[in-house]
């Protein structure tokens, strides 16, 4: 009998990694290195604050906690994530994971054991810094509530990072590549996504915990540095940043665990099932809207990029309104595109390749395959239509929420037809992307569509910066990209650009609609051919 999940110390995977990774030599060497760094960091920060900052002992102890937290973050996020990604990729590459997959341990146990076991040395090293934390807590009179909140965030974020490492190691299966990708993802989570999160996907900005921890520390600090508002406005609610962040991290962690579980059961399984992809889309849209609508309603925090400000100076509508209109419009335009990008990402995870479809067709007439395998091989097009509908619905909801704002009333009165445009602008690129995957596979789709979709607007931008008038051919090139269609639809609707992009947009949308029809006919012909050959081979 396998032990229950909550008795995690009996988990064979955890015990196996504990035995292998907690041998006395590496523990001793790493322990000495980490303790030396911690001692230096804590003592230098404490005495430095006393000497140069003229801080009290309590304030100095609080500041001395920062290098300890930083070191714990390095150990857990950077070293731990790397260990997990490389460890699991190595086991896949060497074929060890096959033997592990064959054990009758439930997949949930395997995921939990790997998640806790692979970074066990790093977790232990991070835990070994707790005496320094205790010193700060006692000397700094830090409330226990703050300490618990910070450690809960740190721990949850560490497990989330390790789950990301586990997924990258499971998907990539080459240890150097998996390790590199895991490190890039850490940088993405902590540096890049927070920079862009304000343009529509605010939830992702909460995955890096530095700001919240700094805010928690500043709350208990006697000095006024890093004073921040720690509330998150979510629709009509004001939520605590730490609580909101924790919930967001737990939800993402649950999603990653589901992905890993699917892969433990079937090595060839899609990362997401179709219902799960729809659920993800819904969750992302709701969380994005939740954070965006209060910003747009109050109209204070979003700032448009400078190049857009310059571009918009001559915009016919905006000249008649105040500069306040700029930021909500930027967010609205960004949100239209973000719906498409989310749907493209999710449809890439759920669209079956041509070989999967061929296998599913050939298996007809024989015993039914595994239900998960059959579900993965089903067409993703209905799910894509649903995702486009969701993105469109979210955009309409956003309009509904912000139209009480007088600026928007002017904008909306200038753009009566925008709802239909935005739906078409999301639907056709999304469907053509998924159809191309179903017809020729992911690699082909990525190579062809992304190179065209990215190359076209980039070339147009470079050429117009180099002096070619945007009004001439660059606007056609720019509008030909499927990725730009939702933004252009909104720019057109709100009459934001002095140059008319309406005709190029119509031509490009028509082209993508035509592409959908051609690809649809090719898919139907292919499916008919496959069915005929499957009937022939089953008869023979």
């Amino acid at each position: 009998m396998n032990p229950p999940l909550h008795k995690f110390w009996l988990n064979p995977f955890l015990r196996r990694y504990a035995v292998a990774r907690l041998r006395w030599q590496p523990v001793l060497i790493w322990g000495m290195v980490v303790q030396s760094l911690a001692a230096f960091g804590w003592l230098a920060a404490f005495h430095g604050s006393r000497l140069f900052g003229q801080s009290s002992a309590a304030e100095a102890a609080l500041r001395a906690w920062v290098p300890i937290l930083f070191l714990q973050g390095l150990l857990l996020f950077v070293k731990g994530t790397f260990s997990v990604a490389v460890g699991v990729a190595r086991e896949h590459a060497e074929g060890l994971s096959d033997a592990q997959r064959l054990t009758p341990l439930p997949p949930g146990h395997k995921v939990l054991g790997s998640l806790l076991g692979l970074p066990i040395l790093d977790s232990l090293l991070a835990a070994s810094l707790l005496p320094w934390t205790l010193a700060s807590v006692l000397l700094g009179h830090i409330p226990l509530e703050t300490v618990i909140r910070i450690h809960l965030l740190l721990g949850t974020s560490a497990v989330l990072h390790h789950a990301i490492g586990l997924v990258s190691g499971t998907v990539i299966r080459q240890k150097i590549a998996a390790g590199t990708v895991s490190q890039l993802l850490v940088i993405l989570l902590h540096v890049i996504i927070p920079l862009f999160s304000k343009f529509g996907v605010g939830t992702l900005g909460h995955l890096g915990i530095e700001t919240t921890i700094a805010g928690e520390l500043s709350n208990v600090s006697q000095s006024a540095y890093l004073k921040k508002n720690l509330d998150v406005a979510f629709f009509h609610l004001n939520l605590s940043a730490a609580g909101y962040q924790w919930v967001a991290m737990v939800l993402l962690l649950a999603l990653l665990v589901l992905v890993l579980r699917r892969r433990w059961i079937r090595a060839e399984a899609h990362l997401l099932s179709k219902p799960l992809a729809l659920l993800c889309m819904l969750a992302l849209l709701v969380s994005s809207l939740g954070e965006l609508t209060p910003d747009l309603r109050s109209g204070v925090s979003l700032k448009p990029p400078k190049f857009l400000l310059r571009q918009l100076e001559n915009a016919p509508v905006l000249l008649q309104t105040s500069q306040q209109a700029l930021f909500p419009v930027t967010a609205m335009v960004a949100f239209g595109s973000i719906g498409l990008y989310m749907a493209l990402l999710l449809s890439t995870c759920i669209a079956p390749g041509p070989l999967e479809i061929a296998r599913a067709t050939q298996s007809r007439g024989f015993a039914a395959p595994h239900p998960d395998s059959a579900a993965d091989a089903r067409s993703s097009l209905p799910a894509c239509v649903a995702m486009a509908g969701m993105a469109h619905g979210a955009w309409l909801f956003l309009i509904e929420q912000v139209k009480a704002n007088p600026v928007f009333q002017i904008l909306l009165s200038a753009a009566p037809n925008q709802p239909a445009w935005i739906l078409l602008a999301i639907l056709f690129p999304l469907l053509s992307w998924s159809m191309l995957i179903e017809l020729r596979g992911r690699k082909f789709a990525v190579l062809l569509m992304l190179s065209l979709w990215l190359a076209a607007p980039m070339t147009a931008t470079v050429c117009s910066l180099a002096g070619v008038p945007f009004d001439s051919w660059p606007r056609w090139l720019f509008a030909s990209s499927g990725l730009a269609l939702p933004s252009i639809a909104l720019i057109n609707s709100f009459k934001l650009a002095p140059t008319s992009l309406h005709l190029p947009w119509l031509v490009s949308t028509g082209f993508h609609a035509g592409l959908c029809i051609v690809l649809g006919i090719l898919i139907l012909a292919r499916n008919r051919r496959l069915k005929t050959s499957a009937i022939g081979s089953s008869r023979s």
Binding site: M1, N2, P3, L10, P12, F13, R15, R16, V19, A20, R21, E91, E94, G95, L96, D98, A99, Q100, R101, L102, T103, P104, L105, P106, I265, R266, A267, E268, L355, R359, Q362, S363, F366, A367, A368, P369, H370, P371, S373, S533, S537, S540
Partner: protein, 322 residues
């Protein structure tokens, strides 16, 4: 639809593809419990693909697979509880000792405490590795690694044991101990299906064999019967005469000797191939006796398992059905 075997291995309509390449176009297989079954064929015949599909590690295009009475396609988790698979040159974790490695798998099968330690010790003893339990896996020789993997497979007393080239890297003594261990497992009711390039051993250990060519089972059954059938497919005769063998050789070239052909002189005997059924063979003997060649002995030479596999390997390559 036939009723699946309650135990053993039962496979119907199995098809395995790698992208556009079909490795196993169609395979039906029934192996009763307690049997040691050798799947024989040249490289690329589809042995490893079949094994991986049986072991639930490869999703076949279609087919039904029952292992020890469990539906491996619809309930792979249940099938995994009763099967063990040892791939060709199975990897070992470099960072664990031999006993630690076995303890991990014993715990994964729900064995803890003294029961786990006893089972680990018994399996190490079964593969003659008791003295190496504290050695790191990375320090074991190739043969020892194979034996340790076999010990891992035996831990949970599987009902179905799938072994891909289990004797790779083993010396003579280790192979003898492997045979002993496998026979003991089969005697306890375990169905064993194996492949090996050491064909005399397969002939020696397997109670039945299947010949695989281009992913199709060409012949299957008890080892002796299969070899006999394959021998009849391309029969050879060895004839010795009291007089000069050259006389016999020249007679074998004459039209009277048909359907014997391709005679070869080997010392004082002549070997030839014979393409005919039993009646043709009887008529041939009568004509040979009437040829006044003073025949001393005449024997039928059975094909060895190597010859059968060589014949399969050199047979024209039929493309698999799409």
């Amino acid at each position: 639809m036939s009723v699946p075997a309650p135990h053993g291995v039962w496979v119907r309509n199995l098809r395995v593809d790698y992208g556009p390449f079909t490795a196993v176009p169609h395979l039906d297989l029934t192996i009763p419990p307690g049997e040691i079954y050798g799947l024989i064929g040249p490289n690329g015949a589809g042995k490893t693909s079949t094994f991986r599909a049986l072991a639930t590690l490869l999703d076949p295009v279609h087919g039904e697979i029952f292992l020890g009475g469990r539906d491996a396609r619809h309930d792979p988790e249940a099938a995994r509880a009763v099967l063990a698979y040892m791939p060709d040159l199975a990897p070992l974790p470099e960072d664990l000792r031999a006993a630690e490695y076995l303890r991990f798998f014993a715990e994964s099968h729900g064995l803890y405490g003294p029961a786990r330690d006893q089972r680990v010790a018994a399996c190490l003893e079964a593969v003659d590795l008791t003295g190496r339990q504290h050695v790191f896996c990375r320090a074991l020789s190739l043969g020892m690694r194979q034996r340790l993997n076999l010990a891992r497979c035996l831990l949970h007393r599987p009902k179905v044991l799938i072994l891909d080239e289990p004797a790779s890297g083993m010396d003579v003594a280790a192979r003898a101990s492997l045979k002993e261990a496998l026979r003991a497992q089969a005697a306890s009711g375990t169905t064993i299906i194996l492949s090996s390039h050491i064909l005399p051993e397969v002939q020696d250990i397997c109670s039945s064999i299947g010949l695989l060519q281009n992913g199709r089972l060409v012949d299957s059954g008890e080892t002796r019967e299969v070899l006999l059938r394959q021998s009849h497919a391309k029969k050879r005769l060895r004839i010795r005469t009291a007089g000069s063998p050259e006389n016999l050789l020249s007679w074998l070239y004459s039209p009277d000797a048909l359907p014997a052909h391709a005679p070869v002189l080997r010392g004082d005997t002549v070997e030839c191939q014979f393409a005919g059924d039993t009646e043709a063979q009887a008529r041939f003997f009568t004509r040979l006796a009437g040829a006044n060649l003073a025949v001393v002995s005449l024997e039928e030479i059975h094909s060895s398992i190597e010859e059968v596999v060589l014949r399969l390997a050199s047979a024209p390559h039929e493309p698999a059905a799409p």
